[in-house]
């Protein structure tokens, strides 16, 4: 099943993205992103042989780029944990 999301800017510009992963960290060791929904979307761009993913986190009801550097570090760690299989899933919404 392929999920797509539509990113909509306030000016009305729409971007279609393929949803790769959407999660909310419940880990107290990652306080900057704890209980904050984060999405990873495929941009369609390639960096050589690699897929480029974009990340947004929910702020005040809207998804924004993860502009907090501490939070961004935690997002990357979470993605690495997922890839390495070091992730426990507690239910889902």
């Amino acid at each position: 099943m392929e999920d797509k999301v539509i990113l909509v800017s306030p000016s009305g510009v729409k971007l279609e993205r393929k949803l790769v992963c959407a999660f909310t960290s419940l880990d107290s060791d990652r306080p900057n992103i704890k209980n904050i929904p984060v999405i990873a979307v495929e941009t369609g761009e390639m960096n050589g042989a690699n897929y480029v993913l974009e990340f947004y986190w929910e702020q005040n009801g809207l998804y924004t780029p993860v502009n907090n550097e501490n939070a961004w570090g935690e997002v990357k760690k979470t993605i690495i944990d997922i890839i390495n299989g070091k992730m426990e899933v507690e239910g889902s919404i």
Binding site: V8, L19, A22, L26, D27, L62, G73
Partner: protein
């Protein structure tokens, strides 16, 4: 062990610029992410797919579901050449620096790649079959440039003409405004003149009335002065 809860978003509204933080992953890693998401999502909440139809009623869902996918809505971004990439831990301490790569910018079709091995302090790395740790390329955001789609030349020309028409329209509006003011001023003056004319006419009328009454009085006295003339006529 880190814990996550998976969810299924519907519409995403982006409040700032469209570019989110980016990383590049190998195909097997993106497959891992996809599998992790899809598998766990299905297993943990098999009723999620039913709930998707009632997205608008979900109080936990910050978005509404957009069913209208516009054609050609994808906006591609082009990555600039990168020189250095660093992996940082939570305290922003640099724990590994990627080598500097001097890139040949003459061939813009090639996108740069820097492979970075996950630091050795990450234990229990999943073996992807090649005895190598999963590699995630990190691209500094400040070096990522998003290019906008170039406007069609015809559309651009039309846009420029439209802007000129709008500018001309503003000028005409100003002129009209000025004329309106002049017309109002002239109208006011005309009213004043009319008032004066009407006043003058009234005065003349009064004077004429007075003269008439004076004349009538004068005519009545002359008849009485010569009563014989009247008597002669009757006889």
């Amino acid at each position: 062990m880190a814990k996550v809860s998976l969810f299924k978003p519907s519409e995403i509204s982006v409040s700032e610029e469209m570019k989110g933080k980016q990383i590049a992953v190998k195909e097997n890693n993106i497959t891992s992410l996809n599998d992790f998401y899809q598998t766990n999502l299905k297993v943990e909440s098999p009723i999620v797919e039913e709930q998707i139809t009632n997205v608008e009623e979900s109080k936990d869902n910050a978005f509404a579901f957009m069913n209208n996918l516009e054609e050609n809505a994808v906006n591609n971004s082009i990555l600039e050449n990168e020189e250095t990439v660093s992996i940082m831990d939570n305290t922003e301490e640099v724990i590994e620096n990627a080598p500097v790569v001097n890139l040949d910018t003459t061939n813009l079709d090639e996108t740069p790649v820097i492979d970075i091995t996950i630091p050795a302090n990450e234990p229990d790395v999943v073996d992807d079959g090649t005895n190598n740790a999963p590699i995630i390329n990190l691209i500094p955001d400040e070096q990522i440039v998003e290019t906008e789609e170039e406007m069609d030349p015809e559309l651009k020309e039309i846009q420029e003409r439209l802007n000129q028409v709008i500018a001309d329209l503003d000028q005409y509006k100003k002129k009209i405004k000025k004329l309106e003011i002049e017309i109002n001023e002239n109208l006011e003056k005309s009213r004043e003149v009319l008032k004066d004319t009407q006043a003058a006419a009234k005065i003349m009328s009064i004077q004429q009335e007075r003269q008439k009454s004076i004349s009538e009085e004068a005519t009545g006295d002359s008849v009485l002065e010569d009563p014989t003339r009247i008597l002669n006529i009757v006889a």
